[in-house]
């Protein structure tokens, strides 16, 4: 199957659509749950951090109150060497905003000095250094600061960079990226599998229907799904319809068989008795003629019966075809050979130039009969000295046979009707035949899934055309 074909099939696959929807919903749900988790966790961390800072703040405030700035200095110095926990930023700020004292953690950029020109008292400019403390590394990291007013009017501030939080949440985000995509992928695969499983009975229904249409194998059934759900019900009913169909066709076939059998048996004995009597040497001519009429008429009735049976069966779709790989060219050639003498006797040029092989999967006996009937018909309507030309070719995968004669052609109004059972156009009243030849051609061709048509040649005569479907893509012979 071609790539576009597969793509087209995918687009029309319920299973794929279901799994895509499932995957999208799954992804949205997964992301939402994660986002909620992330936010909650972040809040929690922030709260915890705040509590820790508040605790420290109270400790340092107590120390300052008890032992003054020196005591605080010593204590913060000690604290900055402890291994656990992050170093804190602590400072005392006076009411006017001046920093009285500060301790900056070692991983902070201590001082960022900038030379700035400022006006001096004498109307000139002097260069002074402005110092600022910068939060380490990058700006994404926040600074959590708590402060408390001390009894002497100074403001004690304790701060900490929040990279602790970032350090926890960042891996979580990264994890989400790949766990999330992996989960969505797995979800998609699972969804596809589940959807395929769920729709498998539907595919089997389609496959079975197609199989029956293509091969006429009426005994094909859809296997029952294991689970007893609504799809199982569909399958059950579909199978029941197939059963009823098959039973109807079977009884019809049997009825036809029985009719044929019941007619054939008395006709056989009628014909046999007459034939045997004809071989007796002692018989007068009148009796001989009467008996010969009996035999000839019973042959005619039998031929009619056989043709009607075949046409009825083909029209009902129960004609049993013995399909096999054949060269259409060979079948046509054999039919042409059969009529070579007849055409010659009527001084008609019967032409067939076989070209390349035309492989077809057909019932060779019936197809040869169809071709023979077309040639028979063409010869019948072509006057002496005319020509019947056959052309066989492949056209976009179809095997096409054209039978062109130089007869009077078929009036447009009759081009459809001539294929009907027992229909005979005005011109053919004088001709012999049962008027079933073309119906049989159409029945046989249609049983093979092909088409039989007629049109008039622009110059003169009729062109009968048989078109058999894609010869290379037929189901294998059964």
């Amino acid at each position: 199957m071609s790539f576009t074909g597969t793509l087209n099939q995918l687009r029309h696959s319920v299973a794929l659509r279901l799994s895509l929807w499932f995957t999208v919903l799954f992804a949205i749900g997964f992301t939402a749950v994660f986002a909620l988790l992330y936010v909650l966790l972040g809040r929690q961390l922030e709260a915890r951090e705040g509590e820790v800072l508040q605790l420290r703040l109270r400790q340092y405030a107590d120390i300052y109150e008890a032992r003054g700035l020196d005591g605080l200095d010593v204590r913060t110095e000690e604290d900055s060497y402890t291994t656990h926990g992050r170093a804190l930023f602590v400072r005392l700020v006076a009411r006017n905003g001046d920093v009285v004292w500060a301790r900056v953690p070692p991983d902070w950029i201590d001082q960022d000095a900038k030379n700035v020109a400022v006006p001096d008292g004498w109307g000139g400019w002097t260069v002074r250094k402005i110092f600022s403390v910068r939060v380490p590394r990058d700006q994404e990291q926040d600074l959590a600061v708590v402060s408390a007013m001390l009894s002497d009017g100074f403001l004690l501030q304790v701060g900490r960079s929040t990279d602790n939080r970032a350090a926890l949440l960042e891996p979580l985000r990264r994890t989400f990226i790949w766990v999330g995509s992996a989960a969505i992928l797995v979800g998609f695969i699972v969804a596809v599998m589940a959807a395929r499983r769920a729709t498998r009975p539907l595919h089997q229904v389609v496959e079975t229907a197609r199989h029956i249409i293509n091969t006429g194998a009426l005994d094909a059934r859809v296997p029952m799904p294991l689970r007893n759900d609504d799809i199982a019900e569909l399958v059950k009913h579909f199978n029941t319809v197939l059963d009823k169909n098959a039973a109807l066709l079977r009884s019809m076939r049997e009825a036809l068989d029985n009719v044929a059998h019941d007619l054939r048996t008395p006709l056989t004995s009628l014909r046999g008795s007459a034939e045997l009597a004809l071989t007796q040497p002692s018989m007068d001519n009148a009796a001989r003629d009467a008996l010969a009429d009996c035999v000839e008429r019973s042959d005619e009735v039998l031929r009619l019966l056989r043709a009607l049976m075949e046409i009825s069966e083909a029209e009902a779709g129960v004609l049993r075809l013995e399909r096999s790989e054949n060269d259409f060219r060979e079948l046509t050639n054999q039919a042409v050979e059969l009529y070579a003498d007849v055409a010659e006797a009527k001084a008609i040029k019967l032409e067939f130039a076989p070209g390349a092989a035309v492989p077809v999967n057909v019932d060779p006996v019936r197809m040869r009969q169809a071709v023979a009937n077309l040639i028979d018909n063409a010869i019948k309507y072509t006057p002496s000295g005319g020509a019947v030309a056959l052309k066989l070719y492949l056209e976009s995968g179809c095997a096409v046979l054209e039978v062109r004669d130089t007869g009077p052609g078929v009036p447009e109004a009759e081009q459809v009707r001539i294929w009907e059972r027992l229909y005979r156009g005005d011109q053919s009243r004088s001709q012999s035949g049962l008027g079933l030849g073309l119906s049989l051609v159409r029945a046989i061709v249609m049983a093979h899934g092909g088409q039989a048509t007629v049109r008039n040649a622009p110059e003169r005569g009729a062109i009968f055309e048989v078109r058999l479907p894609d010869a290379t893509n037929l189901p294998p012979a059964k």
């Binding site: 006709l267 034939e275 035999v295 007849v342 049962l434």
Partner: protein
């Protein structure tokens, strides 16, 4: 030559028995399978004509049982069913040939003769001669009253078929099958046309090949 006919339809059985007796065979008739099987146990036959559909023991089972005990008897099946499957079923059951109803008696007789000839393993002739018509099958030469006649392949094939059945009726269906390998009736009678041409070459006075209306053709050896 003794032949057993197992056929439940009395009328068909009657003309088959009568016809075979006319041809000089001794004939026994059994109206059902069980009687037929009993007859084969007590009598030795050269061939059997068996209808496939019989009351009681059907034709296929009868021949299967027959084959299990006595393998030699050539069997010709008669059946109203004409599909390939039916034909295959008949041959698989042990039948040697299969004839579909309706059939011409001439064809039944010719096929039966062929079966018996095959069973007795008569050597294949390389020359055929009927009256003053001679055919050399190896050199593919035909002479009529000593004069060489040139025949087209299909004419040769038709004449060969007639010569192989001298003084016997040959039907158009049999000729179609033999000359063209066709098993259905074309609407236009292609056999008549070919016969007309053959006659023009070897029998312009219509003395050698007789047309029996309703039956077929006979080539006579006593001209």
């Amino acid at each position: 030559m003794r032949i057993l006919v197992v056929e439940d339809d009395a009328k068909i059985a009657s003309f088959v028995v009568k016809g075979l007796k006319q041809e000089g065979y001794a004939v026994d008739h059994a109206p059902d399978g069980d009687t037929g099987l009993a007859l084969t146990a007590s009598t030795t036959y050269d061939a059997a004509v068996v209808d496939v559909m019989l009351p009681g023991l059907d034709g296929l089972s009868l021949v299967k049982r027959l084959r299990a005990s006595r393998a030699e008897l050539p069997v010709l099946f008669l059946s109203a069913r004409s599909t390939v499957q039916d034909r295959i079923a008949g041959l698989q059951a042990g039948g040697d040939d299969y004839l579909t109803k309706p059939f011409a008696f001439a064809e039944l007789s010719a096929r039966l003769q062929a079966l018996i000839r095959r069973a007795t393993r008569a050597p294949e002739a390389t020359r055929l001669k009927v009256g003053d018509v001679e055919m050399d099958l190896v050199g593919r030469v035909v002479t009529v009253a000593g004069l060489r006649v040139e025949l087209m392949p299909r004419e040769f094939s038709l004449l060969e078929y007639l010569l192989r059945h001298p003084n016997r009726h040959v039907t158009k269906t049999m000729i179609l099958e033999h000359v063209w390998d066709y098993s259905f009736d074309p609407q236009t009678n292609v056999v008549d046309v070919l016969m007309h041409r053959l006659r023009g070459k070897i029998d312009p006075e219509k003395r050698r090949i007789e047309t029996v209306r309703g039956v077929g053709y006979v080539i006579h050896g006593n001209t």
